[in-house]
Amino acid sequence: MTQQTLMAILILSPLVGFLINGVRYKKHSAEVAGAIATGAAVISFISALIMVIDLVGMPAEERRITVQFFDWITIEKLKISAGFTLDQISAIMVLVVTGVGSLIHLFSIGYMRHDKGVAKYFSYLNLFLFNMLLLVLGDNLLVMFVGWEGVGLCSYLLIGFWFTDKEKAAAGMKAFITNRVGDAAFLLGMFVLFLTFGTLNFQEINHMVPLTSELMWMAPITLGTLFLFIGATGKSAQIPLYVWLPDAMAGPTPVSALIHAATMVTAGVYMIIRLNPLFMMAPNTMMVIAIIGGLTAVLAATIGMTQWDIKKVLAYSTVSQLGYMFLACGVGAFGAALFHLMTHAFFKALMFLGSGSVIHAMHEEQDIRKMGGLKKHLPYTHATFFVGWLAIIGAPLLSGFFSKDEILWQSFHSPRGHVLFWIMGVLGAVMTAFYMTRLMALTFWGKSRVSKDVHPHESPMIMLIPLIVLAILSAVGGWIGIPHIISEILPGQPGNILETWLEPLIKAVPGTEAGEPSQEWALMATSVTLAAISAFVAFHFYVKDPAKPKKVAESLGKVYEVVYNKYFVDEAYFGWIINPLVKLSKGIWYYVDVNFIDKTTYVVADLVRGGGQFVRGMQNGNIQQYAMYIGLGVVAMMTYVLMR
């Protein structure tokens, strides 16, 4: 199989699945539609795997498979081809997307079995996968943008899947519109970069970057990267455009797992990682990225501590973890960001699917105040969720520990890092431990608060298998990125496989000195201990002494109110931005469209009609008049002829 064929299969297989399910969406049952969709996803995964194995066999400096299918746009200087590149970065991303995607497709077969529009759902899922692959594999910014927009569309379709419920439909619209704002910035960034570099191809831009070390390039590069980052905040739910993600929980739970945990929301991070040489040239932008990432991590974590809906807690957790990834990018630790992206995909998808299992068992109940003690009813779900929990709070040796720790260390140690970043990170980690333990406690442990008429039952095997696979990955997935200080003490000294893999594309920040191992150990120990203490406190609050948290909340009074209401950000947006815009639109509609444009068309129509009426007067049936017109015509002609 040539590389071209493999790449084509990889990308087009979900598209084919989309078309088959989309065309026959009325006829297919859940099993058939699900089988087609999952099959398409698995085919993509296998072809990706084959190509990655090919990549492994290549020497490190040339690890790249580029396939150009056709020339898409050729206008003077703008030459864009439909090209796709599989290199070290996109290899990891593709495996995550197709692998986790396949598992979620499998889970959906069980979860959505009783839904009426199940074939439509699977067609949308496949379409999403196709667009995500376009985004990940595109070798230039424009192809990536096509995928970027496409996943935004699929996100809208899937969030508002149960569109007959107005709130759910509104949530879909909110996601799409907020994304659009980011996309506008993305476009501006593309324009600036094209003006500066004359190309939108990733490889070409990255090659040109070292030539731009003179000062005068700083301005356009900073501007371009800043715009791109704003686009990323839209897609990856950072301040200020994160408000759509919690509302997006209105969609089916597997959608939340796939799109809003593992893949789409990581698109912004991925884009920055792809363009890391460019971003390295703009320290100001990176400072902004780091600050926003850190702030988002902390802010979302505070809100997550107060939420009662199981999916909302996970949503804010996602926003917070994305903040970590941006923090890593901001301080130059792009490899760590990619690593955390991968491990987060594993454990967050696991937890979302687990929550889906819980919700399914509780007959669509999502409020954790009505849960509790589900450990004995849902043993497998609990066991897998437990692994996810350990991973996210950073329990040592699980995947989350390695990736989060790397980020924290880099935020302290990197030449572009700062101790304040590290403090923000640790604060976030502490709060993450707290609210995740709270979630576990209120859902699975302690006394049961389940209402009498709900009988929770364990989920069928088809939903449990993905959970088990993801749990295994969450546990051992971190071993490919062991930091040096740990690998030195391990037998065989495995080293950081991920770092070596990414080496040619992601270079260390210039000016990095070798780290003091003792410093690193100290910081690691501090963060782990603080997280453990926080988890223990949460356990105590919610399992042993349920009345305590209420007292704490009351004593915090106003502060609690603000945090619980998500800092009134949505209300602020509505009041300051959305409503004025709506009023402005209405005003313009009335004063310009109705008054001016419509009136113009009426005037023109009336003129035409009037003219017609006037000319109609000539047709009065009086043939003598007609003869007179003929005579007049003859006179005119003769005058003309004689005058020449």
Partner: protein, 178 residues
């Protein structure tokens, strides 16, 4: 003034009088009579132009058949009242008269302006085609150069005859009371 000149002027005045009378009198019978008069005048003018055959045909066809047709139909109509003879509105009447006058002016003016060209070929030229008997020439040219038109005319007359009979037999159109 010589005889043919005097003849021309005399016939011209007569014909003109006949034509104007046709248009201006209110009683249609008088109009028909004046028309016959004008046609006879035209026939005489044909004679002065040495077109003897045509003069004869003009008398037979026009002054004979056509005029008789007109008078017969007029008799059939038996109009008892004087119909408003001329066009209704004053303004439109003025415009129409104006148009007509304009056309007249243009035509006469055009002819007058180019009259030197014409006077070169004026007088009484030798009718190079068989002297006083152009009829033979007319026949020759009719049956050679214009034979197609001649035959087509025949067919046309046939159609007209049939059509006129059909029309006259009809009971008054689609909305007639049967």
């Amino acid at each position: 003034m010589s005889a043919d000149v005097f003849l021309f002027w005399f016939l011209a005045i007569l014909t003109l009088a006949g034509g104007l009378t046709t248009v201006l009198v209110t009683n249609p019978i008088y109009s028909a009579l004046a028309l016959a008069f004008a046609m006879i005048g035209v026939s005489a003018l044909f004679v002065t132009l040495n077109a003897y055959f045509l003069a004869g045909v003009q008398l037979i066809v026009y002054a004979g058949a056509v005029t008789v047709l007109f008078v017969m139909v007029l008799m059939m109509f038996d109009l008892k009242h004087e119909i408003t003879a001329f066009t209704r509105g004053k303004f439109t009447g003025l415009v129409k008269s104006g148009t007509v006058a304009l056309l007249a002016g243009i035509l006469v003016g055009a002819i007058a302006m180019t009259s030197d060209l014409f006077l070169k070929i004026s007088g009484t030229p030798e009718v190079a085609l068989g002297g006083g008997d152009g009829t033979k020439e007319l026949g020759k040219i009719l049956f050679s150069k214009y034979i197609f038109g001649f035959e087509a005319l025949g067919i046309l007359l046939l159609i007209v005859a049939i059509g006129a009979v059909a029309l006259a037999r009809s009971k008054g159109g689609t909305h007639a009371k049967q």
